[in-house]
Symmetry: C2
């Protein structure tokens, strides 16, 4: 059954459809676009039947060319290997499909150059909007903010303009909430683990945490910030934690700015095999889907994944109607408490 040399039969065009239905292409086009006041009921039926018979679908290129806008919406994710991004992309995609749009998903690998290349390419594709899940600051982003399709930032606010449209949790509030829970549950020193702080989400989370600790009167010596560089958060968390433990830090609780960091930090603690090490509580952000299965020791700030899509669609709808970016749209978060 191996296929022969390919015969990619071209799909039916509007011209063929019109001929098949015995009408002009103008009429065929109008019927396919639901313009009913320009054709009799009988004509509409005939065209519809012909379309079904020929399996007609309007060619995206033709539409894009004429309308000067394609049915594609670009989504630029910072790291697809991160299941959080995958879940968000999936949710956004459902929303887009609901409006007959197509998502074009790309992986920027957190690199400004790659992100810019994609932004350029997507503009050449006349995309209707660009959704950025984890944007980094870049010249191309600046250019596109000024003159380009609507931009929506997801899960990580625009690093260059706080007024840009944003959909995701209120990271600062989430930080405060998490910190308050930690303060209520644990006494003793707390370690705050972060990787690179050039990500807006992490910055805001940290801010909230610091605020809550300050408000509770438990400041610097009791809250130790530890960090390690490195693009890979898992490795960074491990390195930071190992270093801190080696330096004699013995936290009662560890707060990590992301679950991936927590995975790394936890492993460092296990490897240190300290007496009483199992009693240390871990806290993170993102609530990876695997936490329930293999990380019962980790409490994490979760956001309902399915909410991203509808919220993004809502924001896009407004932007397409010409409204200026309305700033942040916060999704509700909650703390998934585990262990202890």
């Amino acid at each position: 059954m191996t296929a022969q040399s390919r015969p990619p039969k071209t799909p039916a065009s509007l011209t063929m459809l019109a001929r098949h239905a015995g009408v002009s292409i103008a009429t065929a086009s109008r019927v396919m676009n639901g313009v009913t006041n320009k054709a009799s009921a009988e004509t509409v039926a005939r065209v519809r039947a012909a379309a079904a018979e020929l399996n007609y679908r309007p060619a995206g290129a033709g539409q894009a060319l004429r309308r000067r806008e394609s049915r594609i919406v670009a989504m630029l994710a910072a790291a697809l290997a991160n299941p959080v991004m995958g879940a968000i992309a999936s949710s956004v995609e459902i929303g887009l499909r609901g409006e007959g749009l197509v998502m074009s998903l790309c992986d920027t690998r957190e690199q400004a150059a790659v992100q810019d290349a994609y932004l350029e390419e997507m503009q050449a594709q006349m995309v209707r909007a660009v959704v950025l899940a984890g944007a980094v600051d870049s010249p191309g982003l600046d250019r596109m903010r000024a003159e380009g399709p609507p931009l929506v930032f997801v899960n990580r606010p625009d690093p260059g303009d706080p007024g840009s449209a944003y959909v995701g949790i209120d990271n600062r509030a989430a930080g405060r909430d998490l910190a308050q829970a930690v303060l209520g549950l644990c006494c003793g020193p707390v370690a705050l683990v972060h990787g690179l702080l050039d990500r807006t989400a992490g910055t805001y989370r940290r801010q909230g945490i610091l605020e809550a600790f300050a408000a509770a009167g438990r400041g610097a010596p009791e809250l130790a910030e530890i960090a390690a560089p490195g693009l890979n958060q898992l490795e960074a968390g491990r390195a930071a934690m190992a270093q801190a433990l080696a330096a004699g830090l013995r936290p009662a609780a560890v707060i990590c700015l992301s679950d991936a960091l927590a995975y790394g930090a936890h492993r460092a603690l296990e490897e240190a095999a300290l007496p009483g090490g199992e009693a240390v509580r871990f806290f993170g952000f993102d609530d990876l889907i695997f936490n329930d299965w293999v990380a019962g020791w980790l409490s994490s700030v979760a956001v309902p994944r399915d909410l991203y899509g509808p919220a993004v669609m809502e924001v896009l709808g407004q932007l397409w109607q010409g409204a200026p970016p309305a700033g942040p749209v916060y999704l509700p978060h909650h703390l998934s408490l585990r262990g202890g």
Copy 2:
């Protein structure tokens, strides 16, 4: 700095470029496409300069319309929330970008209807090829095999035609290798956990495992197959394992057809809190990136993630040259041994 009502300045067209450079659009087009034997060196330089100045990029829609083929390659993933899919997509994308192509990634949710909707849409976009990471059998897939752009199946062979192009591990051989390792490491009864077996990859893996056990003379009573329905592999693994444990099964080793199943099964074992439960060894497939961090108890069949992209590009190159689908391209796998 909030942006005003949007001024999406249209990008420069070939006509503008030609006027700016003082040549005809034909010449401009030829220069942009690297056809050098039709323009003097001086003209080429002038056009290039104008292109840089205007930040010109050819409009995808115009090209697609004229060439009857866009620069887009569709990738249909079965479940983006699965980090394996994300990693594969990322690798394929790097390969595509290297050839100046754009990836359009979609999530089919393992549903034939969604997959077909995407296949239709992608054909309307005149995509240059479709890469399917986890295809399910569907009428639209049959149609596209017969008359459509080239198809490449990744990580899960074509459920409908074994001769289709495939890139991924040799699942049967991987099953054999894993089983042999299990046979060498553990004595006592072995449980084989699977979810739905309508996935080609799982079927082949199971086949290899059964073969190896049969060859070692350790058949049915010593190798117990357990399964549970359910789309979510994590839940399915847990349910299957819980059921088996309740029925009195006490395996020395558990082989799961995927790591997600293993996560579920492991949790069921933990929840059962059996004496000696920690001694049970787990084996899986995919080697999720988190295994090293939070699943030290799981050995898994791994495949170098970066190999997907180059291999897919190689296959696509051949298909675009008109070669018939060449059947499977096997990537090397190896067993990541952990625990014990």
